[in-house]
């Protein structure tokens, strides 16, 4: 059994790498690639919300920044999309004949590969540090991150001359290694890349949440000011995790962009960032497996519902969220590992009472 438990991650990885590509058609496989890409964002949100107690409603910023970084590089390096000046055609529509200066470095694929996580991380680090050092927490933190999200949304949405505004940047028609990014072959490679990066993101999150650093994060969540009186400054801890989460969201956004074929300001819409939080809540926050389950399952459900009843998804999502908050406060994973079916019954007051009340933890009884 122990051996089996240790093998589970490898089995899942093998299924994702070899069985899913064989079993699913290109369209479905691409969808799963997107779910796994979104799972990285869910992991990032779990790192800051589930472990550190920072409910960010603005992770869409970092997600979109990663997406834009990769899309800008792809657009620049695609000859077929270039207009008269050798710059992407959409610029002509707005009478721009010179490439905006900040696009210049994105000619380089190496720069773009770095930028897609360094830029979100830097933005998160600066924004986070300013917020945390001023001791803004709780609901005010959530509001500020949401306000920041709106600022970014309106900036990207309004700047046609810089980012093609609301149209976004289409990547499916761009070329990479002489192939269309949107072609099935390329998409399988992106799928594989995602499947490899997701476990790496998992390991990064585990690195930060286990050990003494992780203890400090949980301590911040439980009682931040108490931690100060133990001699710890919470600001660096919070800034580091927020920065790491920003970088992960950037990677996630880049992977999602190349697989969905477009990056647009819609990635910075308020509802999308809230959905990200819902995935984590549904999967189970405070665990690292939960968010992956949540992001994959909710988005899979979304695809199924949208195909059957195109208008119904938002209702289903709302209902799902209420269902989880009321009946599965620890999310699906917490539900499986902790209470199971009993928590349902308990919510309606018909669960069988435990023999001793208040519940005694078996381990807690002294041996002598």
């Amino acid at each position: 059994m122990k051996l089996f438990q240790r093998l589970v991650p490898w089995i899942l990885l093998a299924i994702a790498l070899f069985i899913l590509p064989a079993a699913l058609d290109d369209f479905r496989l691409n969808l799963f690639g997107r779910y796994f890409a979104l799972s990285i964002t869910a992991l990032a949100i779990d790192l800051i919300w589930g472990y550190t107690g920072l409910l960010s409603l603005g992770q869409g910023i970092f997600f979109a920044l990663g997406g834009y970084a990769v899309a800008m590089n792809l657009m620049l390096n695609t000859k077929s999309l270039a207009g008269g000046n050798g710059i992407p055609k959409f610029f002509e529509n707005y009478g721009v004949d010179q490439l905006p200066f900040f696009w210049q470095p994105f000619w380089s694929p190496v720069f773009a590969l770095m930028a897609l996580w360094v830029i979100p991380a830097a933005v998160a680090g600066v924004v986070g540090w300013l917020i945390f050092r001023n001791r803004i927490k709780g609901v005010y933190f959530s509001i500020i991150t949401q306000a920041a999200l709106m600022v970014f949304f309106h900036f990207f949405n309004g700047q046609q001359k810089l980012f093609d505004g609301t149209n976004g940047l289409k990547t499916s028609t761009t070329e990479l290694f002489g192939q269309l990014v949107g072609s099935p072959d390329m998409q399988v490679w992106f799928y594989r890349l995602t499947v490899v990066l997701l476990p790496l993101a998992f390991l990064v999150c585990r690195y930060f949440t286990s050990g003494r650093f992780g203890d400090a994060l949980i301590a911040i969540r439980d009682d931040e000011s108490r931690l100060r009186f133990a001699g710890f400054n919470p600001v660096p801890f919070k800034t580091i995790v927020f920065l790491v989460a920003g970088a992960l969201c950037g990677i996630s956004g880049a992977l999602y962009t190349v697989q969905s074929g477009i990056v647009s300001p819609q990635y910075m819409s308020i509802s999308f960032s809230i959905e990200m939080v819902i995935w984590v809540a549904v999967g189970g926050r405070g665990t690292l497996v939960g968010p992956i389950i949540g992001a994959t399952l909710v988005n899979y459900l979304r695809s199924l519902v949208s195909e059957a009843l195109p208008e119904a998804w938002l209702f289903v999502q709302g209902a799902l969220f209420i269902f989880v908050v009321v009946l599965m406060p620890d999310g699906i994973y917490g539900w499986i590992t902790k209470g199971g079916f009993r928590t349902f019954l308990a919510a309606f007051g018909i669960a069988k009472k435990a023999k001793t009340y208040p519940q005694l933890d078996k381990e807690a009884i002294p041996v002598d």
Partner: protein, 248 residues
């Protein structure tokens, strides 16, 4: 006499015109053991808030080892050697007892050093010694949130001891404890005497007597009187504002 370790000079704290402390002056010498009593609202907790950097005084100076503590962050004051236990036992509920103690005992307080290295063996030994002393060893792997109130009090005190401060400020360490637990807590605190400077705030007069420390009575944000317990208890002003007339 030598320089005081901790000195409050004419400290006033005003919350929107209400004075929690008015011109409070108090000296604490190295190795001194002091109990502070006083009616509710006398400013006992505010007094600790001022020392630990949680509240900035409206007026006056606070010095520790000759350095001003005004404007210094809570974490820095803690690192300098002033530790505090809160009135309600504040422990990290989702960490186990052992992890709670290890976090407090960590000599490194910096985020990167916590990422890189484990707890040094000497600190681990110390944590186990303290955990054993307060009888929490059987609960080492239990989350602090599921401990009883008394155990949380002890964990809070133990965390403070694990932090190894020079000055221990204990705000109501025996509130809600049974008589036996109170007795053991008194023993624990007395065992710290010697290398530590201890200030205990309590309402439990039995406990104050068990400790046998000198008593300072606070009233309306000022020191009413100081001295050994018996002398303080017979002071008519203390009887009037705090103890009440002895039973007939």
């Amino acid at each position: 006499m030598s320089e005081p370790l901790l000195e409050l000079n004419d400290v006033s704290v005003s919350f929107d015109g209400f004075y929690a402390l008015t011109d409070l002056s108090l000296k604490l010498y190295k190795g001194e053991l002091k109990s502070i009593i006083g009616p509710n609202g006398a400013g006992k907790t505010t007094f600790l808030d001022v020392i630990t950097g949680k509240v900035r005084p409206t007026k006056g100076t606070v010095t520790f080892k000759g350095k001003s503590l005004l404007g210094v962050s809570e974490q820095q004051i803690s690192r300098d050697g002033i530790g505090r236990k809160f009135q309600t036992p504040r422990v990290f509920e989702n960490l186990t007892v052992l992890r709670n103690l290890e976090l407090s005992a960590s000599p490194e307080k910096n985020a990167f050093s916590l990422l890189g290295s484990g707890l040094p063996q000497s600190s681990k030994d110390e944590v186990h010694r303290i955990m054993n002393y307060v009888g929490l060893t059987p609960f080492a792997t239990v989350k602090a949130g599921s401990l009883s109130h008394g155990q949380k009090q002890w964990l809070a005190i133990a965390s403070l001891v694990a932090q190894a401060p020079e000055v221990l400020l204990l705000d109501e360490p025996v509130a809600g404890l049974t008589d036996e637990e109170t007795l053991r807590t008194a023993e624990l605190i007395k065992s710290l005497a010697g290398d530590h400077t201890v200030v205990v705030i309590e309402h439990d007069m039995e406990f104050i007597r068990d400790l046998g420390f000198d008593v300072t009575v606070l009233h309306q944000g000022q020191v009413l009187t100081e001295g050994p317990l018996e002398k303080v208890k017979s002071d008519p002003r203390v009887i009037e504002v705090y103890l009440g007339p002895p039973e007939q």
